[in-house]
Subunit: 382 residues, 2 copies
């Protein structure tokens, strides 16, 4: 982000890093990155502003896609849809947006706000409301701080526009999800549009920058600028992110379906390399939410679980996961806002119907290392 | 309607008549009538204005309930919900309502606008946009004249508010229906809010007055004020409405379910009296839509099919129809606006998935009379 702007050259890095933080969800970053690059080419670089630069006079509009990633892969958010959403939130609130923001820093939803910013000539806030991707729209730091969704906007490619004033985040999610299903499974959404003071209080800062740093590593440069071989990338990434490399394996079974606007399912992995002889299970609802190694908990939402191509480190979404693929699973601690009682209630395993207790991923890794586990990250310690 | 106002004393007549025009749907008129009476008692009579009195300066707001009648029977639209809907349409259009209007003159949806008018101190238009009840929100005379739903409002008893700008009536219906299901199956809706000039062009006039005349008959007074015995009411009504008495029978089989926000099903009747030995089938989707006698078509939507208690003439909704009930089925021609190509495309049998051709109810009755049929209305002719 040359001089605090996002140029066309930054997009691939941010898209790749956001796909890691997207933990399998957040929509396809590739499609979004093509739109973002084209719009930056046409309208010029997007100014990036720090969360700390915001004031109460700012009106920050989070904008992104809602729907099952499988659908949004096939449907590109049109420029007219992004502009219609910005126009609708301005009309409904009588407040002119001064900046846009990613609601989540995951996959396509990190790209669409950049595209919208380029299109509308607005700056973008370097921060988001999840620090990752989550499948439901109330799973945001605004909600954790007690803020409701405010006036919401949903627009689709048919030209329909729906302005909501839902009583809370759960209702916003329910109503928007039902409308999105009718709209064909994918729509553009604005929610939690607030003054800059509220965004300063709530946003997880510098996550676009974090995404870019992750992307750089996966594109073959470490933090110091030195070149990385493909087989060094995953460990380089784990080091940069304080992540745990949980498992290397091959997809041996895959259950996946689109229902109620979500991509739901699970994958079974057979260990390869140092993990040969072990099995690993991933459960997902748009995002990877639960990881178990030989039946024992390895990582639990809201901590981040990312699946990477074993050879290249390229992040793999819950949509693009394929039978037979050789992958590495890494996990990393979520932002501390999610590790509070309200954070865990909102996005912990119980909310998703998983009957497990949340345990911090670093603690699960330590326990396994103490039992003599052989995950690559703990190999030296074991 | 003493001196062009609706008083508490008019409510039972209008409610009863609207239940006949509601052809089995439109929500329970009893619940709505209690609300309307209470609000007139508190706020005074509601001024009634003719469709012809409207001018372009008027802003007429159709307001009513959306959802499966089975649900609305159990849930009374709160006053706060009616006021919130009026406030929301004013906020979203920046236009102050000068009158309300029933979107349909069926069941509860004839009562809710009277309640809203009393509450808000607004007059009500003597007319509606269906001349009966229909199950889907785009089945309105505005649509037939080429007008879209405009800015729509949906509010629920949780306090959620959704303002829509759908591209057309079919989208309005789809999105509102999906939201209504999430809201618990019932909500208050505003759509097709237009200036008085458009309402003059589109509304079916004097349908509240028609409902009141029907109600008077069923309450035991003919048009001249003479008293009617219970067993004279149904024929009295048929005479007043140019209706055909299709069948007298007993409910021998009943299939009914609530799905997707609709009450769907069918009823089989065994003939009694002059109709003994014949069978009759009714198909419904919130409203009665198709009537067949011994397999032959007797009446088809958009013509009106009403089921009445055989002894008292009291209209029976698709919800309150019970196994063993003894009923009379009457049918009457719909307004000519529905008998056009666009009218039949919008609310004819094909739209509802019935593989029959629409034939005017009076023609079906004439054909049957010529074949020597024995329906009560054609007995003298036969």
């Amino acid at each position: 982000m040359t001089g605090r702007v996002i140029t066309e050259a930054d997009i691939d890095e941010i898209a790749l890093g956001a796909a890691v933080l997207g933990t399998g969800g957040g929509g396809d970053p590739h499609v979004g990155s093509l739109i973002a690059k084209r719009l930056i080419r046409t309208h010029g670089p997007v100014r990036l502003i720090e969360v700390d630069e915001l004031s109460a006079d700012d009106f920050v509009v989070p904008i992104g896609g809602i729907g099952a990633p499988s659908v949004s892969v096939e449907r590109i958010q049109a420029e007219s849809e992004l502009l219609a959403a910005l126009r609708a939130i301005e009309g409904a609130t009588s407040r002119r947006p001064t900046a846009v923001m990613p609601i989540e820093v995951g996959g396509g939803n990190s790209m669409l706000p950049i595209a919208a910013a380029a299109l509308a000539g607005l700056p973008i806030v370097d921060g988001d409301a999840m620090g990752r991707a989550f499948p439901e729209s109330q799973m945001v730091t605004f909600h954790l701080a007690g803020y409701g969704p405010g006036t919401t906007v949903l627009v689709d490619h048919h030209g329909n526009e729906v302005v909501g004033r839902p009583v809370d985040g759960a209702w916003s999610e329910r109503l928007a999800r039902a409308a999105t299903v009718e709209m064909g499974g994918s729509a553009t959404m604005v929610d939690y549009a607030y003054g800059g003071d509220v965004v300063r209080e709530c946003a997880i800062p510098a996550t676009l920058d974090l995404a870019r740093r992750i992307g750089r590593i996966l594109l073959g440069r470490d933090a110091s600028g030195a070149e990385l071989r493909d087989d060094e990338k995953i460990d380089g990434l784990a080091a940069e992110l304080d992540a745990v490399r949980l498992f290397d394996g091959k997809v041996a079974d895959l259950q996946r379906q689109v229902e109620g606007g979500f991509t739901r399912g699970s994958a079974e992995l057979e260990g390869v390399g140092a993990d040969r002889g072990s099995r690993f299970r991933l459960d997902f609802q748009n995002e990877m939410l639960l990881a178990r190694r030989d039946g024992a908990l390895a990582a639990v939402t809201p901590d981040l679980i990312a699946v990477l191509d074993l050879a290249t480190g390229t992040p793999i979404t819950t949509e693009s996961l394929r039978y037979g693929a050789r992958v590495a699973v890494i996990a990393m601690p979520c932002h501390e806002k999610w590790r509070t009682p309200v954070g865990l209630e909102t996005a912990g395993p119980a909310h998703f119907g998983y009957d497990v207790e949340w345990v911090p991923v670093e603690e699960l890794a330590r326990e396994r290392a103490e039992r003599g586990g052989s995950a690559s990250d703990t190999k030296e310690a074991a």
